[in-house]
């Protein structure tokens, strides 16, 4: 069964095989490097902070916990800090970072635009609005004693719900007769984001001093409130996302050619789009709910990965997850160290890295007319 006029000379086939093999090796190398970096940062993160613990000691405590060392290590104050305070914080940071970076990669694929980000299409703003409403209005409509506990119990669900509602609204606005228009969705997202922003501003305007402080901290993003309980609420949402992502890789690759072309290639375009949007809503809702609004992870990470190994989503998506985890864990170390013994909201750190990077992207993009 031959394709066409000419037969393939084995020489060119061999050259192509070498090329493909080289790419595969590069991918494996990138995975190994990123996983290594991520683990290193995690180890550092467990030791870093106002109460510094040497990496060797941290490793000892971890080994002891796993049953490979002297058990009395576990009774120390260091062990308490590492296992009960820093470990959940570390894992929460990693999950949120992975979730945000994957959401960014998914949106960029969906919009065929390297500058798309959940923050851009109003998903984060919607989640933020719901959270602000919980903080400000919660006090007014519930009994005072209940309200005291409110931010911890209701806020995550509020934010999560807000993210889901704004994504759903976007999807409904942009879908006509079973087809989702990406351009409409992008524009509607900007409008919805602005609307959510103004409503959030209104809430800030009517809030009292304590609420305002809560709002501000929350809007800047922080991993400070991490606990095993909080982690157990976020993990069941973000982890399935990580496993669902491989299902989308081929479809997103095909979508790079355009929706009609992806359809021609036999990809269930509408299903891929709906699934990607749902996953983004879940991941962003969960991360905003647990750590506040953390910007730019979704843009910076996928873009760096694309620069190093190319835009194939089969590698891009998992590597974005690892890279996002590494970035947020690293940013959290910085946030905890620069103003010891206090700590900076992590959103400040990521924006400080992310915003200049974004500008650099735009300038560079100007030179590549094709994009």
């Amino acid at each position: 069964m031959t394709l066409a006029v000419k037969q393939t000379p084995s020489a060119s086939a061999a050259a192509l095989a070498v090329l493909a093999e080289g790419r595969r090796r590069k991918g494996v190398l990138a995975v190994a490097a990123l996983v290594g970096l991520c683990l290193l940062l995690m180890l550092l993160s467990l030791g870093a902070g106002a109460f510094a613990i040497a990496p060797g000691r941290v490793a000892g405590i971890l080994m002891a916990k796993l049953g490979f060392g002297p058990a009395d290590l576990l009774d120390s104050r260091e062990a308490l800090v590492v296992l009960n305070i820093r470990m959940p914080r570390l894992l929460l940071g990693a999950l949120v970072g992975a979730g945000l970076a994957i959401s960014g990669a998914l949106m960029q694929g969906l919009f065929r635009n390297p500058l798309a980000d959940p923050g851009l299409v109003g998903v984060s703003a919607g989640a933020g609005l719901a959270a602000a409403a919980t903080i400000v209005l919660g006090d007014r409509f519930f009994l005072a004693s209940f309200a005291m506990k409110l931010p911890f119990a209701v806020l995550p669900f509020g934010a999560f719900f807000g993210g889901l509602v704004s994504t759903l609204a976007l999807y409904l606005i942009a879908t006509r007769q079973g087809r989702t228009s990406v351009a409409t969705m992008l524009l509607a997202g900007v409008a919805l984001g602005a609307l959510a922003g103004s409503l959030t501003g209104l809430l800030a305007f009517i809030s009292d001093d304590r609420q305002l402080r809560d709002l501000t901290f929350w809007a800047l993003g922080s991993l400070g409130g991490a606990s095993w309980t909080k982690l157990s609420a976020v993990a069941p949402i973000v982890l399935p996302l990580l496993f669902a992502v491989p299902l989308l890789a081929r479809g997103l690759n095909a979508l790079m050619l355009g929706e009609a072309e992806a359809y021609h290639l036999g990809i269930p375009v509408q299903r891929i789009k709906a699934l990607a949007i749902l996953l983004v809503a879940l991941a962003v809702g969960a991360s905003v709910a647990s750590a506040g609004v953390i910007g730019f992870v979704g843009i910076v990470v996928p873009h760096l990965i694309r620069l190093s190994i190319g835009p194939d989503h089969r590698l891009l998506l998992p590597l974005s997850a690892i890279g996002g985890a590494a970035l947020l864990v690293g940013a959290d170390i910085v946030a905890r160290l620069v103003v010891v013994p206090a700590e900076l909201p992590i959103g400040i750190v990521t924006a400080f890295i992310g915003a200049p990077f974004f500008l650099w992207l735009l300038l560079r993009r100007g030179r590549i007319a094709e994009l």
Binding site: A13, A260, P311
Partner: protein, 282 residues
Amino acid sequence: MAAILEATDLSFSVRGSTLVRGASLALEEGATTIVVGPNGAGKSTLLKLLTGELAPSQGAVRMDGATLPQIPAWELACRRAVMVQNQRLAFPFSVYEVARLGLEGVGRAQSRARKGEIIAQALETAGVVGLAGRQYQTLSGGEQQRVQFARALCQLEAGRSVAQRQILFLDEPIASLDLCHQLSLLDAARSIAAQGAAVLVVLHDLNLAVTYADRLVVMHEGAIVAQGEPATILDDNLLRGVFRVSLSFSRLPPAGQPFLLPQQHLTPLQPGGVVPLRAANA
């Protein structure tokens, strides 16, 4: 010869304007069908109706008896490949990766080695093996077009293990190609037809259309105004009416193949202008 695809009385309207009206045609096994017509004649819209990208407002497209909406997207992808005009990519894929995109849908069942073979052969046929490692975005328009052709070939070849009766759709595939690659692409398309597939090509170059078509379809203002063997349907009257040019029209010696030399354009017709063509070719 049996028809793989049959379109009957296709019409397509959007926002009050009718882009295709009452088009009927059949794509036959082993035949190359070439669609010609001036800008805005509805060629690309017709192609979108035939590939299932658009649903007709009226009429139906049948592939081996089943109407198009009934065929699942994946199965349809095994039966036909499409190369559309003007392919742009937002991300820096390599040429090799772009060709491999042809396998993202239909190639799932193939082994990695088999995929490599398919891609290598498609790149070879499209004459882009040497570009395999290059970034698609850095290529010239003509090179990009050849890479997209390779992608369509990959899809067709992978789909063949599922569906034997296939169709290849090419929308102005040679618009940016140099003369040599124009001929080599059309030769490749024709050899695919020779293996039993149906091929449909939208072209602007009338001489190439006449040379390569088993069946020529002339469109004007959304309607098919003539179709059949190129040598028999083309005449001075049709060409003047449809293309608004005066041509010197001759036949080349060995086989009496029509040869067209455009001489002067007539006043271009405004959309909706009345042309007495249906009568001339009914």
